[in-house]
Each structure stands twice: as structure tokens, then as C-alpha cells.
Symmetry: none
Subunit: 378 residues, 2 copies
DNA sequence: TGCCTTGATGAATCAGTTC
DNA sequence: CGAACTGATTCATCAAGGC
């Protein structure tokens, strides 16, 4: 890991072509982003200032003072100023993101509506908004509102037409008891030993995010080896989790104290082994098998009779890898769709063959071919 | 109840001074709002078009077509057009809201960021954003995103300096395990017998909201006798719940078919008695319970009669999750203690309901809810 | 009547590759 | 770049029908 000044980034030889990875760049967020090469990062996680607009001190019922976020970097004169700032750094993010990259932004009701609207105005395409439900949120001390028990994250691609973004659907599903991962996530806030403390024993950063949250974000929307950028690096949670999960990181941070804390923290992290990092994939990633391979390999013979699960439709296998049924013919998919009067049909699961008096989908034959391919290293 | 045309509202003698209550106004939302007297309603619930921007058809894995929202009223040419529409109706809402009134707006990621930003631009002051977590959301069929399992509501007052808005903190707390009500709420989507059907058996309105959701909104932020306005009345859930809870309603709706459905629906609603509607304002109760979930989930209905194991004491369930018995009222624990002259009482084991001629502790219902919550990952 | 199976459906910004 | 082709993909709940 290294820490580079903005000037160093700008004169780094590779700065126009390749990304500067596993590095914290010291400097202003927008200027630093503009110094990075375009289309060089796979994903961005951004935890911008929340624009909290606290009017005065807040006291608990026992009269102790709440240690609120009142740092310089969270002071904006107006929504207009906050919007201009937001637009500037989001635009700079667009430039450094690869075409199939995605961005995550976290916020609360104070700022997330401005962020979301500006994302849309800048032609980002929202894929999901995700709710982080806190198991242990701060209470509402005055009893004048509901307890503010969540924060919101927006996940977006570069546009409606942007294709090919990473979403590890099967991994998320497997991790969630084999049902789809929902848009509401439950995690504790960052506390205890995970919370970075300064030498004075006080928290090193006021809004340190839990590693579990970043883990799910990175596991869901990046691949091992990807570059994850965090333009508001703070205590370096993004870098720490990225390193552990075998991704590269680039952090941008203005304040030296935060950089020092993040650097020490990340140095202690060990990257997990390859076996632990392999991304669970579904059928999607499996090699493509054309239907006629089943015929070529002798698993199905020309003239064989196929039918749907209920026996309502049937067809004959032709030597060229198409099916025919009465007047109609076509690929396994086309013919299945035609016979059902549908636009589309997955022929692999629709068509069945008879084996020992039992109907089995031809997908079972494809399975055999794939197993054989895997075994022979094809 | 009555249905008035816009012209009738405009020539109604009292239209400049008092509100036109328990009425559906037929007409365009903004024009109708402008015809209502200023500062005449205590709360607004708005469920505006979401601006879904659907590109093409979506099919389930079984090739059936998803019946998406493709109504005229959800079509906007651009974000700019949607923003102008949003600004117009929100501005019109400002005028009719009493100084201490509050507004709720529900939306999804398609529109809620625009709504939130415009609310702030118009000087509304966000009090909370609330997440409606759906127990049974529609799946993501293509496996390219997280399952979109929530919608977002913004609750706002007329400005940072606006004082005196209604928030029934103690009632919310007593109903929620005697801990503060959080900003994430769990409810099923509206389905089954609650869902209004047309004569053809198809849903009367594509986006009917569940009554439990409106119940919590109205119980938390209005008082009995208040006027609740809904500028996008649709199937009339706001009116139905308002009437049941002893609040007045004003609905605005453009389409006659929706008005007809709402009118018939509301006519069937009975207002709960005074005892059930009294808002809990008492002091904290000591033990922890989660009683109103039984009401939200339909296991217990407001007005239901509970008694102790020996039948010596009995009480009536109120809509806000408290019990009343003669002069006395309170959470299930406080009331049980009071009636027995004790300091404390476990209401869960003390109170019983009748099931098939047998007395069973309400703890049995809590068990059902807990099993369900565990199953749904709540 | 009751249990089980089958089918329907809900605010949805829901594909990637080759020709 | 557009059209054509291939083929991957669902959870909870309720209603209806079979047995």
C-alpha cells in the first residue's frame, strides 16, 4: 500500500493508462478524481458528507451531550451548495468508472434525496435502493419522531443501456438461505473492537461504516481482482474489506489523521485465499452446449421422440439438431414457444425424453455433457 | 359521504372557510387542491404516480406475463415533466395544510428521490423517512438485481420552525414492545379479501395500499376528529382507514371507476368506538411487549374482548395497541397490573382470548407472530 | 369437511451474444 | 448498430379444484 499526494498521482507515469491501485490519494475529492485515468475502476462506494444541518447541541435524557457529527466537512451553506458539490463529485466519478461499472452511495434522509435526484439527472440508472436496517440505532431522545433506524444506499449503473454490470446473483442467493437477497439488509452499527480509536481512546472517525456492510456490497457487485474506488475514504473500511476479499482499492481522503488511521488498519488485513474467494455462479457461467452435441455424442438419436412434462406436446429429433412436430419445426426453444403460443421457451427444461418409463428433461443430458467437458478439461 | 365535482366544490358556500369533509372530489389533483380552503387539513397522505418508465414486457420463468403498471396516469415524458408535476401538487398541498400539519408521501426508487428533493426545495422539513418492508414482495425474475422488497415514505412538516405537529409517541411506543417505534415497518402487501376486485374479478386498482400501513400512519400522526387529505385517492384506503379510526377524510380522484370502488368500500366501514380510539398518552410501561403486531397482522381486531384466566377482569382492544376497561386503560401489562392492584403484570400470560369456546393466553398469538417473523427474516 | 395440489399474481425502471 | 438468436429466471400468499 502507498499514500500518494495529488501531485504525485499527476506525475505518475502510468496515470493516463492504468489505475493507481491499493493506494490512498491525499487531496480534494474532485481534484483527485480528475487526476485518475478515465474508465479505470470497476466499482465505487461513496459515503459523502450527510449535510446534517444540526441547529444546536443535543442532550440525552440524563443531560449528557450527544457527540454528533459537526465536522467542518459536513457544513454546507444551503441545499444549492450541497447540490453543486454532489454534482461535481458524481460527475467526476462517472469519468473514472468503466462502462460496465456501478456506483454505491450511502446517505440518510438529510442528503439521500438530493443525491438520488442528481444521480438520475446525470443519467445514472438506479438498479436498486438498499436499506441498511440498524440492529442498534441511536434512540430518538426527544420523543418527537420515529427512531431513525436505517440508512439508504443507492446502487446505480452508468445508464439504462449500460449492460454487463456485475451482480453475483447466485452467491447472494446462496448466502441468503437459497432465496433471493432482498433490498433490506440488517447489520449492527460499527462499534466495539471493530471501531477505530485514537490514542485518546475516542473514535477515530465519526461515521465509520461496518465491515459487514461493505462485504456484502463488494461481494454482490464486484469480482476478485476488481478495483473499488472510495472517494470519501475516511477510516478506510472500503479498503480494508476490498483487500480482505481480494479486490484492489483506491481511496481519496483529505485529512491526514484519517489517512494515518486507515493505512495502519489496512496493513493489518490479510487477503483471503483463492478457495474462499471463488464466486459462486449459477448455470449462467457454465459452458454453452448446443443441442446437436447431444446427437453428435449419441445421447439422443435422430428420430427420438420428445414430449413436454405433461405429454401435451411432442416432437421428433432431426439429424440437424432441430425438432419437428406436425407442420411445425425449429430449434428446441423456438418450437417449444410456438407450440405453447408463447414468445419464448427454455427448450432444455421444456422437452423431456423417456428413460426407464420416466420422463426426464433433456437438460439432464446437457448435464452429462458438461460433466464430461469439465472432467476432460475441455 | 358524498362525491362532489370540482365545480360544486368551488361554489360550495363554506369553501373559503371550512373543509369539505368525508368527501371524494372528482377532478385533477392540482385544480381540486386549489379549490379547497387554505389551512384546512391536519394531515396529507399522498401516493402519487411512481413514473415507472418500463421498457418492455417482463415474463416470469413460466413464461406468463407480469401484469405491470402501464396506466396513462403513470406516463411522463421526462424527469423534467415529472418534477414539474410533483412541484405543482406539493405546492398546492402546502396551501391547504394547517400550520402544524404534516404530509406523508410514498414512493419507490423510481420517484422518491425526486419527491424528497422537491419537498426540501419547497421548504418542507423532513421529520423521518420510513421504510415499508414487504413480507411478500414480487421476486426479481431475471436475477439481475436484488429483490425490490420495500417502498419508502417521507414524513414532513411545513418547515424547520413549524411547531406543534402531532406525533403520538407514547401510543407508538406502547404498541411496539414498549420501545420506540422504528423507521422500518413490516407489512404484507395488499392481497386476498382486502384487495378490491372489479366485476371481472381483476384488481380494481393496480396499487392499492394495505390498510395496516395507513393505520399506523394515521394513528401516529393525527388525532381523532382530524381531517386527512389524500390527493391521489385511488381505491380509497386512506378514506376507509380514516373513517374506521374516527378521522375525517377528503379524497381527490380523477377516474370515475376508482371513485365508485372507493365510495362503496368506505360505505361499508364502521367507525370504532370512543374507547378503542382514545390515544394513549400515559407514562412508560415497564415490561417489554409487542402487542400491536397482533393487530397489524389481523390476529386480533380492534374491539376484541380479552379477559383474565378466571374471567374476573376483561378489557377491549383499541386500535392503537392499548387496552381499555371501564375508566382504566394502558398497555396490556399496565392495565393487567392496575386491575389486580399489583405493581406489575405480564400481560401476555394474564390476558386471554376465546378460541373455539376455550380461553387461550394472547401469548399464543405472539408465538404465531414470532414464528412468522423468524420465517420471513424479520 | 379437510387436506393436498395446482395455478395465479403482486408499483418491475429485470439479457447477453452473434450475425 | 440493429436484428436475430439463444436461453436464464421466482417468493409468498391466496384461491380453486381434486380427492
Amino acid at each position: 500500500m502507498s499514500v500518494l499526494s495529488l501531485a504525485e498521482i499527476q506525475r505518475a507515469p502510468g496515470s493516463k493508462s492504468g489505475p493507481v491501485i491499493d493506494t490512498i490519494v491525499k487531496g480534494d475529492c474532485v481534484a483527485a478524481l480528475e487526476a485518475l485515468p478515465e474508465k479505470s475502476v470497476d466499482a465505487i462506494f461513496a459515503d459523502p458528507p450527510y449535510n446534517l444541518q444540526l441547529a444546536g447541541d443535543l442532550h440525552r435524557p440524563d443531560q449528557s451531550k450527544v457527540d454528533a457529527v459537526d465536522n467542518d466537512w459536513d457544513q454546507f451553506a444551503s441545499f444549492k451548495a450541497y447540490d453543486a458539490f454532489t454534482r461535481a463529485w458524481l460527475l467526476a466519478c462517472r469519468r473514472v468508472l468503466k462502462p460496465a461499472g456501478t456506483i454505491w452511495v450511502i446517505g440518510s434522509y438529510h442528503n439521500i434525496y438530493r443525491v438520488g435526484a442528481i444521480l438520475q439527472d446525470l443519467n445514472f440508472w438506479i438498479l436498486n435502493d438498499i436499506v441498511w436496517r440498524k440492529t442498534n440505532p441511536m434512540p430518538n431522545f426527544r420523543g418527537r419522531r420515529f427512531q431513525n433506524a436505517h440508512e439508504t444506499m443507492i446502487w446505480a449503473s452508468l445508464g439504462q443501456k449500460a449492460k454487463g454490470y456485475t451482480f453475483n446473483y447466485e452467491a447472494m442467493k446462496a448466502a441468503n438461505d437459497d432465496v433471493q437477497m432482498r433490498s433490506d439488509w440488517l447489520f449492527p452499527i460499527c462499534a466495539g473492537s471493530e471501531r477505530l480509536k485514537g490514542e485518546d481512546g475516542k473514535k477515530a472517525h465519526p461515521t465509520q461504516k461496518p465491515e459487514a456492510l461493505l462485504s456484502r456490497i463488494i461481494l454482490s457487485s464486484t469480482k476478485p481482482g476488481d478495483v473499488v474506488l472510495d472517494p470519501f475514504f475516511g477510516s478506510g473500511t472500503t479498503g480494508a474489506v476490498a483487500k480482505r476479499l481480494g479486490r484492489h482499492y483506491v481511496g481519496i481522503e483529505r485529512e491526514q489523521a484519517y489517512i494515518d488511521a486507515a493505512e495502519a488498519r489496512i496493513a493489518d488485513i490479510k487477503t483471503l485465499g483463492k478457495a474462499e474467494l471463488t464466486v459462486m455462479t449459477g448455470k449462467k457461467a457454465e459452458p454453452r452446449v448446443a443441442f446437436n452435441v447431444l446427437i453428435d455424442s449419441g445421447l439422443l438419436k435422430p428420430g427420438a421422440r420428445l414430449q413436454c412434462a405433461k405429454g401435451r406436446h411432442n416432437a421428433v429429433v432431426r439429424a440437424d439438431g432441430t425438432l419437428s412436430s406436425g407442420e411445425e419445426s425449429g430449434s428446441i426453444h423456438r418450437l417449444g414457444a410456438k407450440l405453447q403460443g408463447l414468445d419464448a421457451c427454455n427448450g432444455w427444461t421444456f422437452w423431456h425424453f423417456e428413460d426407464a418409463g420416466e420422463l426426464k428433461p433433456i437438460d439432464a443430458l446437457r448435464r452429462i455433457v458438461r460433466d464430461e467437458m469439465a472432467r476432460s478439461g475441455a
